[in-house]
Every structure is written in C-alpha cells, then in structure tokens.
C-alpha cells in the first residue's frame, strides 16, 4: 500500500482551518495510509478470535445452544455483541470493509503510477554514480561505442529494459555523450497490484455467495427420500437473493446407507467408510439413476452439491395396544451422543382420547448393561440393544407449538412404574416388552440407518477460486522479483589519462565502464546488487573478447 504516496502529501492543515472537504481528504489520506492498513489488519486478526472460541450458530448450531446453556451469565452479553454470529456482525464487517476501502484507495492510484512507470524511461544517470548503493568500474578493451553496445547486450540478456540516453549530467571527463539507463522488475509491482485486486475479487465472491447461495439439510432414513424443495429441509440458510424457484427440481431416495468402522487395531471404532446408495431423479419424469455418495465424494446435480453429513441409527419400533393392534410403527432416527454411537431418541404415540404414550430410548449398537448403566462398546451393529423408559399423559402435540422430535416434554406426563420402580426394558432385535398398566407392548423389529444430507450451492465459488489463484500468482513476483535500476557510463581510458604514454597509437583502445545500480524497493541486501553488477561487468568483458 502507499506509504510513499501518503508521505509525499503536504502536511494536513491545522484544525481551525479545516473545512469539511479538507477533513474528508485528511480522513481519506489516513485511511489509505500504510499505518492505518496495518492497524486494520491487526484489528481484523483480533476480531476473528472470539468466533473461534464461542461456537458459531451457522457453523455449529447445537454447540452454540450448548455453550449458551453452560454460560448463562455470559450469554446475554454474547448475544448483544453478536458473538454467536461474529462473522456477520456489523463490527466485524466494518473492519474488513474499511480494510478493503483502504486497500482500494491505495491500489487505484498505484495502478496509474505503475502504468505511467511502465511507459517512462528510467532517468539519465546522475552526475556521481559512486553515490549509488552499488557501483563498480570495469576497464575493458574496446572503443566506448563498442563497450556501450556490449553493455546494452549484457543488460538485455539479464532482462533489463535498456535505453540509450544523453549523458548530460556527467562531470567533465567522466563520461561520453551517451549512457545507458536500464530498469528491470516491473513485474514486482504488477504482481503486487494483481494480488491486492484479487483480494477484492475474493470479497466480491463471498458477497455473491452470501446473497445467492443456500445450504439446506435434510435427515433421510434409509429407504426413504425427499424432493428438493425448502419445505422438505430440516434447516435452511440462504442469502437475501435466494429464490426457491432456482432449486434444481430433483428427487432423491436413499436405498442403502452403510456405516463401516475399523474392527480392530489402534483406531478401532473409528469410521472406515460411510456410503449411501441413492436413486436420483434429476428432474420430474426423468429416468431414475443409481448413484453413490461418500464422504469426500459428494453428488453434484446442476451445480448443487449433496453431501453426507452426520449419520446415525434408526431403530424400527412398533407399539401395539392391549388388543395387539399396531398403534405406531416407524424407523425412529436416534441422535448419536458419543463416538461409539450411543444414541438417544424418543417415540411419541398420540392416542386420541386416551393419554398419550411417550417412550424415551437409548440405543446401543454394541450394547452391554454395565455397572455404569447401558454402554456401547463399538459403533458397528454387534449387539444392538434399545433401552427404554416410558411416560403417560399429554405429549402436547395438539398445542400447535413445534416440538423437537428428539425430546419429550414431560411436564404434563407421569413416568410409568413397574414394581415400585420406574419401568425400564432392554430390547434386542426381535424382542418385545410389556408396558405396565396393560398399555400394550413395545418391540424392536429391526435397525436401519439414517443420514443427514446437505444440499448446497455456493454462488460465486468460481469467482472466489479465480481470485485465490490470481492472488497466489500475484504473490510470487511481489515477493521474489527485485526492481532494480542500472546505469552504465563509459569513457575512453585514453581521454582521462591523456598524457599517458601507455596507450600507443594504433593499439586497441581501452574504455572504463562505470556500472552503478540501485534497488527500487530497498531490501537492505546490497550484497545481491554487488553480485549483479559484478556479473554484468564480466558479461561485458566476455562480449568484447
């Protein structure tokens, strides 16, 4: 950014004389100065921290709720400061927008400057080349014109832009009519500008994504499916310009969902493969096609991606009344609570005029009832056990309030008792248990799986990718190219030592070439400059022999 540009401005007027326009100019100069840019960079880094400490609603809604429950004292403040949505709060946005304005305000004038620099010749050599950060004299065989041509060749070979200029500032006796002015490394600034503009492009892409993108999730039990429409989603986050009519009208059925886990070894129990076999109907009436979706291998439909998110087990539970009539039969999604897939879930059986039945269950894929209660030893289905307790009363299903399907509100219910203790039963697959008070039976018929599918489209992701690629490309010359200016001035050695008899007439003439250079962006590394000048001198000599 423009440190040099801002420093060249005249000092700001003192307060009493400052008109609004001047104040505006002053503020603009401040904003586009490197110091303020540095400050904003730091501020952005610091502002990003709280969002990594407090769980973010968009990334992890359950963790956000959990955090709020564990920190009741802090939660009101966290809400007020937007700590659950840090990255979309006004204060966070303000920082990066100011930074972007600062960047643009700095980059735009520099584009003009660079454009002019690209078309301007480097200036003629200053009068004293010995004052340059690097300089050396090379005495070579040849007339000044030949040496100049050789130097030009050598500079071009080293990818300098070379200009012959009138050497007007040379002290008498130190030069000839023509000298060389050369410069290299324009790509450094080009890369720098490209890099910074790419950052703006990425920000534009992110803005596009937040306007037009969407992300929905839908829980699908093995054997069932869904049609792609917002009403089918369990959750949907979408941008302001999202239009449900843009959703590709596909329908998808999960035929099989397989979960495999490492059976032994040091990572026993960690997932080894999650794979869904789905039947996809790309649009209504289209021929259905069979596809597989795996972790890291999403399904792509028309730019919309379908990902596997978290999976779980769905025990198939049947509830019969006292007469043996089926009053409930469903594969109920249970939510895993630990890596061994100990899962919890509920069965809600509304019974019209009679009191509702609510069943709370813990599902264990490989279960034992140990001293600490029911426990799962392995996430795979080794010994599926469903442990249940039951409640009777009003489930509140008719209150019109949306309910969690994973929880029972037991305020208007009483727990069923058996032998003076809360009723409890452990069911293997095929087992059934008698509910107390002649309420009927509960059975575990089978266990299937469910998977959360994420349907998403990130608008502008191609733009973001282009921006990121250009940024990386732009960084390279910015960091590795050296912008360097070199002058070459020649004088005939016989001119400076006119009285010297060492140059007999007819002998080949001798010329002293003074080569001097400076790095346009000071790197403090004069060694590299000296090396280049030495290499140039050697190249000139080689050219002449």
């Amino acid at each position: 950014m423009t440190d040099t540009l801002t420093r060249r401005q005249p000092p700001a007027p003192q307060p009493p004389a400052m008109s609004p326009l001047e104040a505006g100019r002053w503020a603009w100069r401040q904003l586009t100065s490197m110091r303020v840019a540095l400050f904003l960079l730091f501020l952005l880094a610091v502002a990003a921290v709280p969002g990594s400490i407090v769980p973010q609603r968009e990334a992890n809604p359950l963790a956000a709720v959990d955090w709020a429950e564990r920190n009741p004292a802090l939660t009101p403040w966290a809400e007020r400061l937007g700590l659950f949505d840090v990255y979309s709060t006004p204060w966070f946005s303000a920082i990066y927008l100011l930074l972007m304005i600062s960047l643009v305000g700095c980059i735009i004038p520099r584009i003009g400057t660079h454009w002019r620099a690209l078309r301007t010749r480097p200036p003629a050599p200053p009068s004293l080349l010995t004052r340059m950060p690097g300089h050396r004299d090379a005495t070579v065989q040849g007339a000044p014109a030949e040496v100049l041509a050789a130097a030009e060749q050598a500079l071009r070979a080293r990818r300098f832009r070379v200009h012959r200029v009138a050497d007007t500032r040379a002290r008498p006796g130190t030069g000839s009519a023509t000298a060389l002015a050369a410069e290299r490394g324009y790509l450094k600034e080009t890369g720098n500008l490209l890099f910074h503009l790419s950052l703006v492009l990425i920000l534009v892409a992110v803005a596009l994504g937040s306007l037009y993108g969407y992300r929905g999730s839908v829980l699908v039990v093995e054997g069932s499916g869904f049609a792609n429409s917002p009403i089918q989603y369990d959750g949907l986050t979408a941008g302001a310009r999202f239009d449900a009519r843009d959703l590709p009208p596909f329908a998808l059925t999960v035929d099989h969902f397989v979960m495999e886990f490492e059976p032994d070894g040091p990572t026993m129990g960690s997932p080894s493969n999650f794979e869904a076999t789905v039947t996809l109907e790309p649009y209504p009436g289209a021929a259905p096609e069979q596809r597989t979706v795996r972790v890291n291998a999403p399904l792509s439909i028309d730019g919309t991606l379908v990902h596997l998110l978290n999976p779980g087990y769905a025990p198939l539970v049947t509830v019969r009344d006292a007469d043996g009539e089926v009053v409930y039969r469903q594969a109920v999604p249970f939510l895993p609570q630990d890596p061994m897939f100990t899962s919890t879930g509920v069965v809600k059986v509304p019974r019209g005029d009679e009191p509702d039945i609510g069943i709370q269950g813990i599902f264990l894929p490989t279960g034992i009832i140990g001293p600490n209660g029911p426990e799962s030893l392995f996430p795979g289905l080794g010994n599926p056990v469903l442990v249940i307790t039951a409640w009777q009363g009003d489930l509140g299903l008719d209150d019109g309030v949306t309910q969690s399907v994973y929880r029972i509100d037991t305020t208007d219910m009483t727990q069923l008792q058996a032998d003076g203790e809360p009723f409890r039963a452990a069911l293997g697959v095929g087992d059934s248990a008698q509910l107390p008070d002649g309420l009927g039976t509960v059975s575990l018929d089978a266990v299937s799986t469910w998977v959360n599918l994420q349907v998403s489209r990130n608008a502008g992701k191609e733009v973001a990718l282009a921006g990121a690629a250009l940024a990386v490309i732009g960084l390279m010359p910015t960091l590795f190219v050296r912008r360097r200016r070199v002058w070459v001035r020649v004088r005939s050695a016989s001119t400076s030592g006119a009285a010297s008899p060492t140059t007999p007439a007819g002998a080949s003439p001798v010329t002293v070439a003074t080569i001097a250079g400076l790095d346009r962006v000071a790197s403090g590394d004069t060694g590299a400059l000296d090396d280049e000048l030495a290499a140039l001198a050697a190249a000139i000599e080689k050219e002449l022999t």
């Binding site: 950014m1 440190d3 420093r7 490197m34 110091r35 840019a37 540095l38 960079l41 730091f42 952005l44 880094a45 990003a48 921290v49 969002g51 990594s52 400490i53 769980p55 968009e58 990334a59 992890n60 963790a63 840090v86 990255y87 010995t130 004052r131 950060p133 690097g134 992110v206 992300r215 490492e262 070894g265 040091p266 990572t267 960690s270 997932p271 080894s272 493969n273 999650f274 972790v295 890291n296 999403p298 991606l305 990902h307 994420q454 998403s456 990130n458 992701k461 990718l465 990121a468 940024a471 990386v472 960084l475 390279m476 960091l479 590795f480 790197s523 403090g524 004069t526 060694g527 000296d530």
Partner: protein, 316 residues
C-alpha cells in the same frame, strides 16, 4: 516388509534421529564452550552503500571462522545431516506403514515438519553461513520431535473417511512446508532481536552473541524465509478451502482451524507490510513476525485441543 515391521522400524528410526541430533546439539554446545569468541565487524557490508571509499575498510579480510575449535562445528553439522537422513527414513517408513502420506495426524505432522525444517535449514546453509546458529535450530528440532514422540504419538493407522482425499496430500503438505519455513524464520527473528539488542548496547563480545551473524544478516534471512513461506501458506489455505468445498459443501465456514489459519495469514501479511513501512522496520516488524508464529503454533496445538471443530480428527 509388512506394515507392522515398517511401523516398528519407523519408531526406531525416529528415536535414533533424536539421539543423533542430541549428539549434534552437544557438539554445537562444545563449539560454543571451547571456541574463542569472534569479534565481528558489525554490518561490515553497509559502508559500500553509503559512499564510503570502497578501498578503505570494506575489503578487509573477513574474520575467519576456521578456528581450530570449528572441528566441533564440523561434527555438529555432520551429525545434524545424519540425523536428518535418519528422520527422513523414519518418516518414509511411517508412510509405508500407514499406506498413505505421512501427514495424517499431529504426530506425523510434527515429524514430517521437523524433517522439512532440517532440510530447509541445510539448503539455506548453502547460501548463507548459518553454522553459528545451527545449535538453535537443532534445539527446536529436538524439542519438536521429543514432543511428537512423547505426547503426540499415535500408532500408524489408516485415515478416517473424512481425510481420504488427494487434497490431504496437497493441503497438509503445503501447510507443513510453510510451517517449516515459518519455524526457521521464527528462530532467525528471535536471534535477530537478541543480536540487535546487543548491538544497540554496543556489546557483542559474549560467547553466544559474537558467534551470531550481524543483525542485518539475521533480519534478511528471517525475511527471505518468511517470503518463501507466505505464498506456500496462502496456497495451503486456498487448497484447504477447495477441499472444504468438496468435503463439506462450503469453501469457508469459519471453523476454528480455518479462522486461525486466516489469522496467521493476516499477521504474516502485516509483517510483510510492516517491513515496507517507515517506523515499523526492524524490531517492530520482528515482533509482528513472532506474534504470527505464535498464532501458527496455537493453530497447531491449541485449536486441536481446546476447540471442537471439523478439524478435530487431527488426533491428540
């Protein structure tokens, strides 16, 4: 050779590398203890630029580093190279044992990263005379591998499905390589601050101080190495975003790991900007660079341990 043998051999080689490096450390320490302090001419290259007559002082013979005691230095450098080769073999066998690239968890990240730091240091040593701060690099390497073996170690195993992707190879390799460069830069920056403080006080005669390159050289090395690391880190973040789009359906989701990698990127960007800003060059920029490295370390250790995020499978 089956996987178990490879895993076993890998562990043996990693331990062996530590022993060899410990010898290197001892040799470097002996060099410090027995060698006579060198009297550097501070910034002897600078006069060339400021118009001083080139003949007068700039081309005095440089103080010789080939003192008799540099035998110890030779032993140190030799064992450092040997330890690096041994560790490289250990890393390779780890990959063979696990049947994949050896950077799937924190242990592997640490040993692969240490190997890269050592290689980068030895390569850098071909351009700059770095023998005098090899002791510090060796110390950091031993610490890292020691931590890996004792705290971070987990047996070789296949990856969870979430990590099975070609992007793991690209993304983590880039992140590890960049972290290796940043580690070298951190060492050079710390030494720069130490040396610069001494130069300001006008006393650089101590055993440790006199052996260090002058502050300008240290600063330059620190900058060069960071300039290498920064684009690689940028690429690592971008590759991670591409993988995230592929694996999770969004290229940026403010997962703690993502957030902290961006914070590291921003602070290193601030360092690069500070170096071109009057009033921020030198010590202030150096401190920014150290802050950036601290955020990198926190991203590696803190985020895996303290926060629950999508990168939690890093394995502690």
């Amino acid at each position: 050779m089956n996987a178990d043998t490879a895993a076993y051999l890998s562990n043996v080689l990693v331990d062996a590398a530590m022993v060899v490096w410990a010898v290197a450390l001892a040799a470097f320490a002996a060099d410090l203890a027995f060698a006579s302090p060198v009297r550097h001419e501070v910034s002897r290259r600078v006069p060339v630029g400021v118009g001083a007559p080139a003949e007068s002082d700039a081309h005095e013979p440089a103080p010789s580093t080939d003192r008799p005691a540099s035998r110890w230095l030779g032993v140190g450098m030799g064992t450092l190279v040997l330890g690096t080769v041994v560790l490289g073999a250990g890393v390779l066998l780890r990959g063979i044992a696990a049947g994949r690239v050896p950077w799937g968890n924190m242990y592997e990240f640490a040993i692969t990263g240490s190997f890269l730091v050592a290689v980068a240091f030895l390569l850098l040593g071909r351009r700059y005379d770095l023998k005098t701060f090899a002791i510090w690099v060796t110390g950091v390497l031993l610490l890292t591998v020691g931590l890996a073996v004792t705290v971070l170690y987990i047996p070789a195993a296949p990856l969870v499905p979430a990590l099975r992707s070609p992007w793991l190879v690209i993304h983590v390799a880039a992140a590890t390589l960049a972290a290796a460069f940043f580690t070298l830069s951190m060492i050079a920056t710390t030494l720069y601050l130490v040396r610069d403080t001494a130069e300001r006080r006008g006393s650089t005669d101590g055993r440790l101080l006199s052996r260090l390159p002058d502050s300008a050289t240290l600063d330059r090395i620190a900058y060069r190495v960071t300039a290498f690391g920064f684009p690689i880190w940028t690429f690592a973040v971008v590759a991670g975003a591409i993988w995230a789009e592929y694996a999770w359906g969004r290229y940026w989701g403010w997962d703690p790991k993502e957030t902290w990698s961006l914070i590291t990127w921003i602070v290193y960007a601030a360092y690069l900007h500070a170096r071109t800003t009057t009033g921020w060059r030198g010590r202030k920029a150096a401190i920014i660079s150290l802050v950036a490295y601290a955020t990198l370390l926190f991203n590696f250790f803190g985020v895996n341990i303290a926060f629950v995020g999508l990168h939690s499978y890093g394995g502690v």
